[in-house]
């Protein structure tokens, strides 16, 4: 039997998911104050953190600020850098040898949100000579120039250009652990969970550890990674695979040093398409993280390693590649009874567009905001949570699939299969059919917790040269003058930013030395 009030939460598993969840819960539920919930993290001293998730979303800024982290200290401790978006290289068509084509998906459209005035139909009519990504966002050009998103005088967590982070995930987990235990009254137990005991009603009663015995709690968070010890193993919630939609089930990762200490640091993730997957390239302060994520049905591991080494070039010599198996999909339920899974125990798509950490933040925030202090509310919150996260994961899968299925590449079976209708979710097919004749608009993204919104879709669609034929409806888009004014304003903003912003490395070096001003 569950108690009538839920007063103790145990999070099983540390890592990015465990410690981030602990911090958000502790802060929002005022852990440590009289009458509040007690939060405990049980972390295995033996299981290594996967720690490949090195890219975040701008939401991480709000999260870290809310839980009381000093931004400068966090960046210094985690080798963090500023991420202003992603550049997609060679996705649009099969590259001829030696050629490179690319488009940007920046994190902000600056002041030019397509919600107020959608520039896409005017760009489609040829109102700008530039490619879509450069025409509508200063930030694409700032990324090209390798400039920082802010100045050293800009207050912590404030931005001149929207930004997220790249960081060392292992160091981030250690940093959050310290913050949680020292500042947020989170209890920490080092131990391996060996057994999970259930109440007769099917809820979890306790977990047994090798070092600290049996630990009872009223509510459990499963942050045990793809093993899903609680929700998967103990409660038997099945996994819903998505490898019929997204094929990349294996990754090879490498840590590549910079050729010189003052080498420029990219301020965006570089995602380069290859014959059976794509490579990520993430610039941290002290090294790059480079990896190839590919479909094992379309490539051997040997061939994949060859592709990765070719892509990195001479610098890959002598470096070891770490192989990681990825299980793509999500649990059929994320929350059952008094247990919720957050992180890879709940779902994983693939690293493209860095949705993993974002959805950890989103889940922890919803859990904290809706936490059923009274066990009578459990069932209602469980349903709400499951419904919204099913929707969020499905929508994320659609957006990831979009990057592949509108490509003109047909150089390998991998690309042919990716563009076959049977691999494209119905929901995405319907929207693509509509967008062949109408540019996407805000009504296509009307869910309050839409993970990817209008601007993101526009950047990918028109970065990929998706053809929207609006010739039958030009009369609806006749405000050419406003469009020209906006395009000119974006040019002016870019010029001003270009003058004011330091290079990415220049700013990082200063942040590491001086920290960031509080206001």
């Amino acid at each position: 039997m569950l108690k009538s009030t839920l007063d103790e939460i145990v999070i099983v598993g540390g890592g990015t998911a465990g410690w981030l969840t602990a911090a958000i819960l502790a802060k929002k539920l005022n852990a440590g104050k009289p009458g509040s919930v007690q939060i405990t993290v049980i972390e295995s001293p033996d299981i290594a953190i996967l720690g490949v998730g090195e890219g975040t979303w701008p939401t991480m800024r709000t999260t870290l600020q809310t839980v009381g982290v000093d931004e400068g200290e966090f960046m210094r401790e985690c080798d963090a850098t500023f991420k202003q978006g992603a550049e997609f290289v060679n996705w649009q068509h099969t590259p001829v040898p030696g050629e490179k084509h690319s488009y940007f998906h920046p994190l902000s459209a600056v002041f030019h949100s397509s919600y107020d005035f959608n520039l896409a139909p005017y760009w489609l009519q040829g109102a700008s000579d530039l490619p879509y990504d450069l025409a509508v966002a200063s930030q694409s050009r700032i990324c090209q120039l390798g400039l920082a998103p802010k100045k050293i005088t800009t207050a912590a967590y404030s931005a001149l250009q929207n930004y997220a982070y790249h960081f060392n995930a292992l160091k981030f987990a250690a940093f959050m652990k310290k913050h949680c235990t020292e500042k947020l009254s989170v209890r920490f137990i080092s131990g391996n969970v060996q057994q999970v005991s259930l109440h007769p009603c099917g809820a979890i009663a306790s977990v047994s550890t090798d070092s600290a015995g049996e630990i009872k709690a009223d509510f459990f968070v499963d942050c045990t990674g793809s093993k899903a010890l609680l929700l998967g193993e103990a409660l038997g919630v099945p996994w819903h695979g998505i490898n019929d939609i997204i094929f990349n089930d294996t990754a090879l990762a490498m840590q590549v040093p910079y050729p010189a200490p003052d080498w420029p640091i990219a301020t965006h993730t570089i995602a380069t398409a290859h014959e059976a997957g794509w490579t990520w390239d993430i610039g941290l302060h002290n090294r790059r993280g480079v990896g190839y994520v590919y479909s094992s049905s379309h490539s051997t591991d040997e061939r994949a390693e060859q592709i990765l080494r070719q892509h990195i070039g001479v610098q890959s010599e002598g470096l070891e590649a770490r192989k990681i198996k990825l299980n793509l999909g999500y649990r059929q339920q994320f929350w059952r009874k008094n247990c919720v899974a957050i992180g890879m125990s709940a779902a994983f798509i693939e690293p493209l567009e860095a949705s993993a950490i974002f959805l950890i933040e989103a889940a922890a925030n919803m859990l904290a905001d809706q936490f059923p202090r009274s066990s009578a509310s459990l069932e209602f919150v469980e349903k709400k949570f499951n419904d919204t996260f099913k929707l969020r994961w499905d929508k994320s899968i659609d957006f990831i699939k979009l990057h592949y299925c509108i490509s003109q590449r047909r150089d390998t079976e991998y690309w042919v299969d990716n563009c076959t209708d049977s691999s494209i979710p119905q929901s995405l097919q319907q929207r693509l059919a509509h967008w062949r004749l109408h540019p996407p608009g805000k009504y296509d993204f009307d869910y309050a917790f839409e993970p990817f919104v209008l601007d993101s879709y526009l950047f990918v669609l028109y970065g990929m040269k998706f053809n929207t034929d609006i010739s039958h409806n030009l009369s609806s888009y006749s405000d050419i003058q406003s469009a020209h004014q906006l395009f000119a304003e974006i040019d002016r903003t870019t010029a001003i930013l270009q003058q004011q912003l330091p290079t990415h490395r220049e700013l990082l070096d200063k942040v590491y030395q001086y920290g960031m001003p509080k206001l």
């Binding site: 100045k151 005088t153 030395q513 920290g515 001003p517 206001l519």
Partner: protein
Amino acid sequence: MTQRIALDSQQHQHYKLQEDKLFSHTKLAHILPLEVNEFAAAAAYFPIVFVKDSNTGQFRACVMTGIKPGQNLYWHQAGWQAGYTPQALRNYPLLAVQPDTTSGDYVIVVDTQSSLFNPQSGHSLFAAGQATEYLQQRAGAAIAQAKSVLLTQQFIQLLLELELLVARTLTLTPQGAEAYDLTGLYLIDEQRLAELTDQQWLSLRQNNSLLAVHAVLMSMNQVSALIQRSVL
């Protein structure tokens, strides 16, 4: 652009230091650095404000000497127009720095762009390979300033912790000209000061910061004096 190098008894054995009672190097400066031990003396003549160092993002304390960039209303060819001169001006072109904070030793550096530092005229710096009495006295003043810089940083840290600093934009309307905004200034918020808990208030007292806080608040009276000066 200032270029600083360490004074060296060999390299600079023939160099001399002139004194400039007009402080001409500040002719175009609308803000000048001030340290916390000077607040009480300076408050009667200038507004004391906080600005971010454009190179480090760190806050520092300053006196306002003009109401727009490029203007110093206290500089005059007849002499400095205030009853107090910030120590940084008096010490120029010398500065004491601590290259290694663990040892605590100071090194005296000089702005080589300054014409006050030259081989022709002024007070000798070295004699027979040793610092002259004049240099020792100037170096002592520079070291005293460096020590007060640390106190100022601690004071500003306390203000930030107590959330007493706020950004303020001064909107200025000179006679016969269009209004403009002077931005990037941070002041002590009187309202927040009044709302401090007893414990926070005590922390100000224990850090000997009460006088400095009040000097900053009193100095706000000099804003109107500064504007007055600008229309004369």
